[in-house]
Symmetry: C2
Amino acid sequence: MQITTVNLEAPYLLYLGDCPDMHHAKTGAGIAYWRPERCAGQMCLPGCPVDLGLAEMSIQDAIDAGVRTVVVGVAPMGGRIPAQWLPQLCELAEAGINVAAGLHTRLNSLPPLVAAATKGKATLTDARVPPADLPVGTGRLRTGKRVLMVGTDCAVGKKYSALALHRELERRDIKSSFRATGQTGIMIAGEGIPIDAVVADFISGAAEVLSPDNVDDHWDVIEGQGSLLNPSYSGVSLGLLHGSQPNAIVLCHDVARLKIDESGGDYPIPELDEVIDDVLRMARRIRHDCFCAGLSVNTSSLSDFDRDNYLSKMQDHLGIPCVDPIAIGMTPIANFLLKYTS
Amino acid sequence: MQITTVNLEAPYLLYLGDCPDMHHAKTGAGIAYWRPERCAGQMCLPGCPVDLGLAEMSIQDAIDAGVRTVVVGVAPMGGRIPAQWLPQLCELAEAGINVAAGLHTRLNSLPPLVAAATKGKATLTDARVPPADLPVGTGRLRTGKRVLMVGTDCAVGKKYSALALHRELERRDIKSSFRATGQTGIMIAGEGIPIDAVVADFISGAAEVLSPDNVDDHWDVIEGQGSLLNPSYSGVSLGLLHGSQPNAIVLCHDVARLKIDESGGDYPIPELDEVIDDVLRMARRIRHDCFCAGLSVNTSSLSDFDRDNYLSKMQDHLGIPCVDPIAIGMTPIANFLLKYTS
């Protein structure tokens, strides 16, 4: 069974269009952070407030800098490319620069872009096309070890936490694979399965294919998607949880997130011990000894003092390592994970 | 927003192929039970042990009886049409008889069938094609009342229970709509959304579209899919639960089902109060006062004495009406539902 692989030619130009805020630019931000050596610049429409810290480029700048691929770095809700982005993307394609994106709208479903790419001999790559013929999940327990990031909501640092934990395991020479489940992760890793783009009946089957049987001391560090608490995406999250059959979960959270984001209802984030309990109840239906190996929190909205105070209080309360993956790193969580699974 | 509508011309011939058992023939069995006036006969391949109690027909019989549509009445795991069914289906289509099915394989993706239908001027209808452009779920609470069937597993009587409860509400002149979420339900009702065929990101959005805002005293009786406990389909079940935002659930169970069926692992069905607790924990994240209005159990494997004994013990233990929807009917559950939501 093949998983989706994407091979993008560097250097990249990260396209931001008229992205309203950093929150929506997480694809671009993730690529800029984890693959800086591949990024030449960024391109925005006038008035776009997002800045990834790369050189702002015009189309001519991109050509002069030898950019090989323009990567759409924004994930609008619903996953459709706004019409106002097309002129720039077409001009780039016509200049021979490949276009890559990971939205529900396929690039090759946009006739002007297809025409431009044909003219410029550029390729169009969609990271959100799931493999064909995915199987229905079977629930068979697989060999090897797995840790899955779960979240209190979307966009709370699940991908970052997974990549950081994977890097920490690699640093210790522990066999480990980062398993990407979303478009950004796939573009960073070069492969993965866009779990939210598969047909509903095959969610857990896709998760099973993504982390196949492995040697006993190998870890799959699996990027999470959505949240069991988010009414828009909870189905994806549960299918991924059951298909991943993790030995351990890491709960990811943003301390500034008080309620589910972008929701038509008012859904406060419950106490974190309740969230962990919800996830473990579901996880243990498949793997009875699944445990929570830590809390990974985005505390960028807090002062250093408040951050340390918050993490220390949470650690006392939950009895598991609580870190900010950027300020503190994933070392305490890796220690705890390995201690209880060796 | 349109939902999938199917208009099938009667009389029907229910096609069973080489279906191994009644469990896989639930589409055919459901249509034969709820729409007997539309069914002229059934057709099997040699050796098929399933009998829906209809006249067994040859192709010539079907033509002579004026059959207008052959409905594929079997749901093989994975949803693909076996090659050995094609000769009969093609011959029927070539004779001008329309073909309808609700499998993942689309009928019009099968070139021999398309050719036969073109020659016979027959139509090919897929009940499992979801509407285009489904929205992402928003979680906005909607007006009107909703009751969702949930299950301990697949194929434990969720559709039957929903249709029986809907019929019971109609009998009392209570405004009510049966909302179909699977191919059989859609073929019985003439409309619905095949929830397991939508792209994962849109599961709860589809459920929201399926039961839109309504007057305060209107009930949507929503067919469930899968089970939170079934590792193959739990994602579909949770997305449907959150998108349906039910005021109440009815737990459906088969007393003979001791563990999750057709699974690659060994997953016993937990105690039913635990299952109800799991479902309500998830449901109440969206509608905080959701409650369980009853237990609807297939007890066909028990004697009358053992059935009454089982139901009475469960009722004492759970404190909610416990019925076999066929032997007892849904009256006690309807009473309980209306008492606590009026």
